[in-house]
Symmetry: D2
Subunit: 366 residues, 4 copies
């Protein structure tokens, strides 16, 4: 089925392989009248770009987005918005050898098992570049959320043992540091840690979080379309993510009810809570307090040490991967997480508009 | 949108509130020819039943399932299978008071925010009884998986600080102990812990896991319909779950690539792996090794201590919940997790059949 | 996949076979706050009931609907509404013989080809009784549409050569006559025609139409989710329908543009049209004028004359069908058409609420 | 919601406006291993091209397709296939005036009603050029069907009063004549008729049919996903179509059961029918005999006579459309119908693979 479609009303279909001609996304269901141009989208894609730091490998990727449809006179028309990013850096020679074996920790084997063969160049559809479509669409969703006063902010919480100090929470640091951490000091320590890791021909994992502020209450649908269920699917679908938490997450399994319950209280005329262990979601619907999602990202599978594996003829062999690989995935995944969360929230907001008969009646009173 | 539909080919729609006339599910897309009767489904529902232990409250719930359609001559016909469980124990008097305020940790507030009002009796649609439909459908999915040699086993891994010894892994214990732990000793210690917790008028959280054995490789679709993405949505949609892990889960964020990568090797003529940090899923598709999913369940929100909250007129009040409530959710959620995993795997297996042109050509060569 | 699910937001899943225990539908996505009771639904089901005329065979079918969930304090809660109709008249003996052969014009053969076997009793899932779920759901959709001032009216336009005089258009006649024609005289002539047809051991076809008044403009989505495309799917899905027309329908293929174009004009402050060849839909979206859909229904396949066919062992045989069969399908299908149109319109109205950014912004300004 | 997505497994999302930068489609769900190149797709797009006849207006449109993703080593990879056709002929000056009023018979008014504004250039998303994406995707579906021995052939049956002689049925004529009729003589007469029509500053309608040969039986799902229901949605979604028929279509409403029933018989070892009034579909599933779908296409709305209409300020005005417009739509719509039918059939074939438990078990016996 390919599975490159996401969403019910605000739907996105991404396409493209790392070494194909281009990558992109079609957004089908963006409401009409949203001010939109490439300038809204390019900054999000730039947050994916490596080569501006000592910890990501110098691969030149321009990744310039172009809007091909769905926008007229500077606004979305309500018809599908097609975005394209052309691949400018395509050196297959780096990858020709890996066609013959299965890299540990990568999707080479599972792609072969499913389809019988694969585009082996640079990871093909399982490459990190597949996220270009997600991020471009995420920029559009974020634009819509901004109009509603909803702010989505993702950041790196930790890399290996190095943790950001969240009481600092410097938003500028998220965009400026090569680690996407909201803490310049922690970022410097993380870069140092990663230098050591690279020297060991190894890679490191990390944790990223996403905060959603300004949510109205009641967004999400009970049972299977719960907001946290969809957020976890959206985030788990990002390559290398192996765990998703909402609010206190794993801590709840060792907590007592008296501690874990968030007491309701009034904040002016609005219902609020004294604590937020729930991470802003109760019974699968937003409760009006900030939503917090967390993802655990595994270390980059491509390391330069020798590894045991199997080749396409089912012979056990030893391989040593070449090429250009980052020692950590998290910093590049942060904007992907932010995009997936924005897209999921946007879709849920649109779906929620038809929840009450009274709202529908009001809407159609011309 | 209500969100009570799940699946693409093997689709289930659940319905029913805790204090309504009945609950049930319609399974639309079960393949024809599957041997099926109430006897296949009832044992799964019985695993939800409380009152057989000291740690769950004695609520009499018969929960007898009846098949109303979709089965003929002992086999599924390929048409929708409608299952019903009639509510026999409905004492609204326990719940009349809570109509006036929002219980902390429950979906009362978010339901009101979304719909403007709610069926306040016993949690209505957000009650644990909503899972009856899921479990009944899960029994059908499990029956299909069994024919394919795939075995799905969920169990309680820990309650509060008490951990099961997984090297023991007694399958009988899962079905016999009131904690659903695969370890009789740990179960006894957990029950003792919960007795103390109840005495404190408090509740406890826990961790449950689900193992899937016998999977073929290549199941799941890249990008958004990744098997782990769908499993996390399925499991996160279960009430009280706040975190989902695949394989090593949260551990990956602190691991090195050299440790986290699973080396491929041959096991006879089949490709296998020396380790399984990935939890059986690579690039969003099964790799043929056992799949491991983990969920963290929060403590029961309904505790008998006084709590601060807000009533429907937005006044801050103090409440003390009455009624019958378990001190822990996990043991009852285990069969729900097993069901959601079975349903998700079944749907993915059906979708995978059309992945390759050669398979489609073979299929239609009459 | 079974295909018993219909809709995107206002979703219905029907279930049940003609000789199973019961039939029903789950409506998932009905907005909360809609006043609803069995009294709203039963009249629609009663319009399916035969035995009140000389042209339908005297089969006793009570078809009493019961609401099992999704309604509280007389209003929909926004959670799934499960409706059930128990089968009271089940005489399998009438149908035991047909298990061995394929009745011409029925789905016996195609069910066998798809599933390998079938519930042969009375048509199983392909029986006209399958429409019970559709009609019950249609009653709910119609209730919602009424609140919006939208009126859906279906009727029989012709039976065999007998045509109703639409300039008469007696709404009472639609509900009172056994033919569901809006013209008492034509109904009497049609009944006479059908008596003759029955005497010949034959059956007749007919045409039904459905009018939708009070539509706002702009409902439907361009390209694949055009309102007329969805209406044609909805109506063609009704058993025995072999053609669907919108507005002038087949006449357009022989018309000139100068005649077929509907000139726009003003009707007070509203945009209207001088004619309505388009049937109320332009470019796939409603234009604010009445929508007209037409369906051609084939004659009842079950006739009492000897017929040539094939049995399950692939032998050519001659058969003579027994049992109780109406000589015409259209009168019973009229309320099904009305229901499918109402459901489709309701879903499109809900989807349309998120078409414009300005509406979304207004909605979330609390 | 935009509605540019079609399909369940074999899914297509089209995008692009007539005067935007480009148009295209993303096919998500094409099975892997299908031999594919631009050479498979271009011929289908060329069948849309005007300017090669006296009856279509000389608009230069190159419409060269390019595959951007999803194909490697000459075969589909199973990942999304992105196709693009760049607009080379974009003269907005022809259309600037129509921004101020609603053209009769066009979607100008309904687009405005839905979105509040529209891309007025050349019809924007409602332009006939929107079908480029459908046709490109249809070529891929047809390639898959060919491997299964299934042949889809669409043609013009009539233009105005001129009917093709189907007993002739010259397949070459379909591709060679400017009318897409399977009859050179009728084509010449139709061209003459259209010359007269153009001289009258008018336009004509027509009828197109699509034949599907080589279908296995049992394709389609009962109730809502009936094959004929989906075919009618697919074909009705083509602009200017106002009626869809299956097999005998409208004739069934005036037929007797004894005439309309198709008697089953044996054709060698295969079940067949003596007649095919049903058009190859029974109970919503294919019966193994040729499928016949018919569509009635309205005359081109853009005629050069003066017309009454309304402008954006709701003033009644008279307009005279300029620019380049064909006097008939049908010849250009034929390949669109063929594509939509191919796509629908392909999706149904993939869905059918999971209908029987025995097939699923066989599939997973490695």
């Amino acid at each position: 089925m390919s599975g490159s479609l996401y969403g019910t009303i605000f739907k996105i279909t991404t396409w493209g392989e790392s070494h194909g001609k281009a990558l992109g996304v079609v957004v089908d269901g963006c409401p009409a009248g949203l001010p939109l141009s490439e300038a809204d989208i390019q900054p999000y894609l730039d947050r994916r770009k490596p080569g501006q730091s000592r910890i990501s490998t110098p691969r030149k990727e321009d990744d310039t987005v172009e809007i091909l449809s769905g926008v007229f006179d500077g606004r979305s028309t309500g018809t599908p918005i097609s975005l394209i990013v052309r691949n400018t850096s395509q050196r297959s020679t780096d990858y020709s050898e890996i066609a013959s074996y299965y890299r540990p920790g990568h999707a080479d084997y599972t792609f072969d098992a499913k389809y019988g063969f694969r585009d082996y160049r640079g990871g093909g559809r399982s490459s990190g570049r597949e996220t270009i479509g997600r991020v471009a669409a995420g920029a559009i969703a974020a634009k819509l959320l901004n109009l509603l006063g909803i702010r989505v902010t993702a950041y790196t919480r930790s890399i290996g043992p190095v943790e950001a100090d969240l009481s600092v929470f410097d938003r500028e640091a998220i965009l400026s540091t090569p680690t996407a951490m909201p803490d310049y000091d922690a970022s410097a320590r993380a870069e140092s840690y990663l230098k050591d890791t690279m020297a060991e021909l190894d890679s490191a994992g990390g944790v990223m979080e996403c905060l959603v502020e300004g949510m109205p209450a009641g967004i999400g649908d009970p049972v299977f379309e719960k907001l946290d269920a969809n957020l976890s699917k959206a985030v788990m679908s990002i390559g290398a993510v192996k765990a998703v938490e909402i609010g206190d997450g794993i801590l709840v399994s060792h907590a007592k009810g008296s501690d874990n319950n968030d007491a309701f209280c009034m904040n002016g005329a609005a219902v609020s809570k004294k604590t937020n262990h729930a991470g802003g979601i109760l019974g699968g619907m937003s409760d009006g307090t900030p939503i917090l999602v967390r993802a655990h990202v595994k270390p980059t599978p491509s390391i330069f040490r020798p590894q045991e594996t199997v080749d396409k003829n089912n012979r056990e062999i030893s391989v040593q991967i070449k090429g250009r690989h980052d020692p950590v995935i998290v910093p590049r995944a942060v904007v992907v997480m932010e995009s997936m969360v924005a897209i999921t929230i946007a879709d849920a907001l649109l779906l929620n508009m038809s929840a009450r008969t009274e709202h529908i009646v009001d809407f159609y009173k011309k």
